[in-house]
């Protein structure tokens, strides 16, 4: 019996584990290490209408139990992603979630329309939350009305379900989630990185050329858990959770908080084999905790007792 399969709008996942956008490129590098068909899904690097070179270096700075990045959405552009990356990925039996970014509404719409037609793209992830680009991006992710409007526009043209990726850099995450739900989103992915900064102890100046960067890794996990806990109770959309996941136990914690599937970001950069390792560990962890199926964990943190008929623990 598969104890790990999960179904979400547009996505039949053999397990709930997928690499997060930007931490896996388009999969080529990781295919040297394992068969990508093993993954529940793959969230590919943000795609923009035109190629983007991104920010100057240094683009990464380490922090306690985390890292700051200011890559600046570097990517080869829509045309190349469709002509080269997606066809290459089609050799694997794995649904692709295309991360869509832009600086103005028309860009998002143009990318969404085209990329959602690729055969292996089963869902879009609207990146309205990148902290590392000067225009667009973050505004779409911090003003509820703007987010709602963008979601609606993208929904109109997308051939597949649309998940909206929320930024944690807001004072009221629930309000944002409700706005994209009202805009017609099919799901939510959260959280993107938190804006941070590091200074060089010798020069006194910021380490990152972009000055600020997005914080990711284990350091942000408690924030992600709290936000998913709040949002999952306030909207009826499924959530793909992320933020500092390193282990199968972390995955369970995200499901407890209210996520239905989990993405792994930064951990791939430290251990390229982390996703298959988590997938292999999950059945044992479920067994140990007394669950028949992974779905029994979803929302446990806030559901009333008695809703878990199968739970043996």
């Amino acid at each position: 019996m598969n104890r790990l399969n999960v179904e979400l709008p547009g996505l039949r996942l053999k397990n709930p584990i997928m690499p997060a956008s930007g931490c896996f490129g388009f999969g080529r590098e990781f295919s040297q290490f394992y068969d990508l068909s093993k993954l529940g899904a793959i969230m590919i690097k943000a795609t923009t209408l035109e190629p983007r070179f991104g920010n100057p270096t240094p683009r990464v700075a380490e922090t306690a139990a985390g890292m700051l990045n200011a890559i600046g959405l570097q990517n080869p552009g829509l045309e190349k992603v469709i002509a080269e990356e997606l066809p290459w990925l089609s050799q694997f039996d794995v649904p692709i979630i295309a991360n869509v970014a832009g600086s103005v509404e028309e860009d998002y719409v143009a990318v969404a329309r085209k990329i959602s037609q690729a055969a292996n793209v089963k869902a879009l992830e609207l990146n309205i939350s990148c902290p590392n680009v000067k225009t667009g991006g973050i505004a779409f992710g911090t003003i509820p009305e703007v987010a709602k409007q963008l979601t609606r526009k993208v929904k109109e043209v997308s051939a597949v379900p649309v998940y909206v990726k929320l930024s944690p850099n807001v004072s009221n995450i629930v309000e944002m989630a409700q706005a994209v739900e009202a805009g017609g989103a099919d799901g939510i992915t959260m959280i993107n990185t938190l804006v941070g900064m590091r200074l060089d102890i010798k020069t006194g100046k910021p380490i990152l050329a972009n000055l600020t960067g997005g914080l990711s890794g284990p350091a942000i996990k408690p924030i992600a858990i709290r936000m998913i806990y709040e949002v999952s109770q306030a909207v009826s959309l499924p959530i793909i959770g992320m933020g500092g996941v390193q282990s199968a136990e972390d995955v369970i914690e995200f499901l407890y908080a209210g996520a239905s599937a989990v993405a792994v970001g930064t951990a791939n950069l430290v251990d390229p084999l982390v996703c298959p390792a988590i997938i292999d560990d999950l059945p044992d962890v479920l067994e140990r905790l007394g669950y028949e199926h992974i779905k029994e964990c979803i929302g446990r943190s806030w559901q009333r007792d008695g809703q878990f008929a199968n739970h043996r623990a």
Partner: protein, 256 residues
């Protein structure tokens, strides 16, 4: 193939002030293709520090599956590496990147190897392989001060070796670039701080020059776009990744 492997520590010793030589046994040595490739070292099993540390392979032997890393104790990560002892295991990802092309220089020609500080280590294996091929090698190795000098004897066995120190406490006072003008060569290989690489690149527009770059990395395998630099070809708007397209580039291939 790139492997992630728990490698056995064979020995570790301090060979100059804050400079350590670490020998490990690893099957990933079988896959090393050229001197100048590097490995990505996980300095702790915990989450702090989180990222791996890139360190060049300074020597390797595929018969015995051993390799040597030489590193300077800098910050938190390398300070943790200092605590490694024989018998302990170290999580290493590698071999990574593309090394120095030894096929670019022919038997009987002269190769000049120029290293600055912690850029010296990868030149050692390069020097050995060039000599084995029948190439004459000349080394110019620059250090801050006398106590930081290492491997002078080892390099001297392979060919003429000049040492410079910035403060003049050992060898010639000054920088490697001061000595380069005095020697003639056919091909130049170099690794060290970016200002040094830039000066060398500008100084010899007509020669075959290969530079090994440093950039802050996360994944080390080409997936995250942390370590990029701009292509030297102005018509080409693409980018190069130091970790997977480099770290060694032909002069002019990327903007320093």
């Amino acid at each position: 193939m790139i492997r992630k492997e728990l490698c056995k520590i064979l020995s570790q010793k301090e060979i100059a002030a804050n400079i350590y030589e670490l020998r490990v046994k690893a099957t990933l040595v079988d896959d090393i293709r050229a001197p100048g490739q590097f490995v990505h070292v996980r300095v702790t099993n915990g989450i702090d520090p989180l990222l791996r540390r890139p360190i060049s392979i300074s020597a390797y032997n595929q018969q015995t599956e051993q390799m040597t890393l030489i590193y300077r104790k800098e910050g938190r990560g390398t300070s943790l590496m200092v605590q490694l002892e024989p018998g302990m295991e170290l999580d290493i990802l590698g071999p990574l990147g593309n090394g120095f092309p030894i096929e670019e220089v022919s038997v009987g020609e002269t190769a000049l190897l120029v290293g600055g500080g912690i850029g010296v280590p990868p030149l050692y294996e390069l020097s050995k392989q060039l000599v084995a091929k029948g190439v004459n090698v000349i080394h110019i190795l620059g250090f801050q001060t006398k106590s930081a000098v290492f491997y002078e004897k080892e390099f001297s066995k392979n060919g003429l070796t000049f040492i410079t120190t910035a403060d003049g406490t050992y060898g010639r006072k000054g920088f490697v670039t001061d000595v380069i003008k005095e020697v003639s060569f056919d091909c130049l290989y170099t690794c060290g701080p970016t200002p040094m690489l830039r000066a060398i690149e500008q100084g010899f527009p007509d020669k075959r020059v290969f530079l090994s770059l440093e950039e802050r990395m996360a994944c080390g395998v080409g997936a995250c776009f942390a370590c990029v630099c701009q292509s030297g070809d102005a018509a080409d708007t693409s980018y190069k990744k130091v970790c997977s397209d480099g770290p060694v580039f032909r002069a002019g291939e990327v903007v320093l």
